[in-house]
Amino acid sequence: MNNPHHLNPTSLKSRFTTRFLRALTKIRAQKPISSSSPTEIFRRYRRIKVAADKSMAYSVRSRRIWSRAMLWKLRSRSYRRQDPCSGRRSGKTNQAIMKKSSNENTTTRREDGVGFVEEADELRQLVPGGETMNLCNLLDETAHYIKCLTTQLFSPIGKG
């Protein structure tokens, strides 16, 4: 009734839009007047892209394997940038399991017995965190990932 565009205030779309808007305003507040050199522009582009990925992953929380993988990647990258000497500072539970299984799977090729190994591997590279999934979970995660990508693109921020 108040906002006819967001039919459900807790839907994925509205959660993503709110978070992304907040991140965008923060980015614009940081550097109101910046030089128009290419490096500055590129830096800002990286920040906006990371903000989009981050707000998407936070809207999904830990309910999906790909969102957990994405959050872990973002966190480890930010930690590495802050303190390059530090070891693994982030939480151990999911990350340790994922790293362990990814180490196990790098040596053995996933032969699921179904015969679509090349395509499956390519899909694993596209979907974040896909290396640790068997084909069944991979297809599940792909479907959810596609749904989230389309929400991002058709959000009312003007992306779509």
């Binding site: 965008l24 980015i27 614009r28 109101p32 007047i33 910046s34 128009s36 522009i41 800002r44 582009y45 906006i48 892209k49 989009a52 399991i97 362990k100 299984s101 699921d112 017995g113 179904v114 679509f116 395509e119 499956a120 390519e122 899909l123 596209l126 979907v127 068997n134 084909l135 069944c136 979970n137 297809l139 599940d140 792909t142 479907a143 990932y145 596609i146 749904k147 990508l149 389309t150 991002q152 693109l153 921020i157 003007g158 992306k159 779509g160």
Partner: protein, 275 residues
């Protein structure tokens, strides 16, 4: 005996949903009246029980991250040797093992909801191997449950060893998921094979990711353009202000020029004078 078995499944596992298992119980009861009591308890756990027993007997750890294939292989290897042990066990031992297995169950229930079909198949398979042979095979028909636990039975003339059963169930799940994806991804036709559909899906995901990148670039450009424009406005204002100030200064200088200029001329003349 019946009372005891009733008790056995009521006490340690009050959280279990007994209703969906009653259907399977009655169906399996008519097939295997002799082993009913022993396996009665098994199906109260929605067939987690036989596998978990084997697991606790033959492996020391049941780690959460264990994949389903590892689970099945474990149970397959141990299923043959488990037969005599299982039948020789007393019921008291069963209960204590159930209690031990409860922790494993609870911890792995979250992960293994998708594993229930495979688990149920090995349970069915073991009972097939327990000596019924032909009779069980001929009485079987395929049955689908509305809930997550899918009991898939072998059709007539098909292999009933656990590997192919598990394979068939996995393939069924993969096909189902591919069908869902086919609805989502435009450009997938049912006539295409799985490989082609996967290719289409890959292309679609790639194009979506590229679109997201392109649109975030567009956002960056828009925001820098906006900032640049507002900045140029500010600069114009500043320039205007500076021009005004310069004019003021000129006026002041013209007025006071005589004084300053006079002082300067006087000063210069004085210096010349001294020389």
């Amino acid at each position: 005996m019946a009372d005891f078995s009733e008790q056995s499944y009521r006490q340690p596992f009050p959280f279990l949903d007994i209703d969906p298992t009653m259907e399977s119980l009655t169906q399996f009861a008519e097939l295997n009246p002799q082993s009913f009591i022993l396996d009665n308890s098994a199906f109260n756990f929605q067939t987690f029980f036989p596998l978990s027993i084997n697991d606790s007997l033959f492996s020391n750890q049941a780690s959460q991250g264990e994949t389903m294939s590892g689970f099945i292989h474990n149970s397959n290897q141990s299923s043959v040797s488990a037969q005599p042990i299982f039948s020789a066990k007393t019921e008291v031992e069963e209960i204590s093992n159930k209690r031990k297995a409860l922790d494993i169950l609870e911890s792995s229930s979250g992960n293994s909801s998708s594993s229930s079909p495979q688990v149920s198949e090995t349970g069915i398979k073991r009972r097939n191997n327990s000596g019924r042979g032909k009779r069980a095979k001929s009485n079987e028909k395929e049955m689908e449950k509305p809930k997550e636990v899918v009991h898939v039975r072998a059709r007539r003339g098909q292999a009933t060893d656990s590997h192919s059963l598990a394979e068939r169930v996995r393939r069924g799940k993969i096909n189902e998921r591919l069908r869902c994806l086919q609805d989502i991804v435009p450009g997938c036709y049912k006539t295409m094979g799985m490989a082609l559909m996967l290719d289409e899906i890959i292309n679609y995901v790639q194009s979506l990711q590229n679109q997201v990148e392109f649109l975030s670039m567009k956002l960056t450009a828009a925001s820098t353009y906006y900032d640049f424009n507002s900045e140029s406005d500010a600069m114009e204002r500043m320039q205007r202000r500076k021009a005004e100030e310069a004019k003021e200064l000129e006026r002041l200088m013209r007025e006071g020029y005589v004084g300053i200029g006079g002082v300067a001329c006087f000063h210069s003349s004085s210096t010349y004078g001294s020389l």
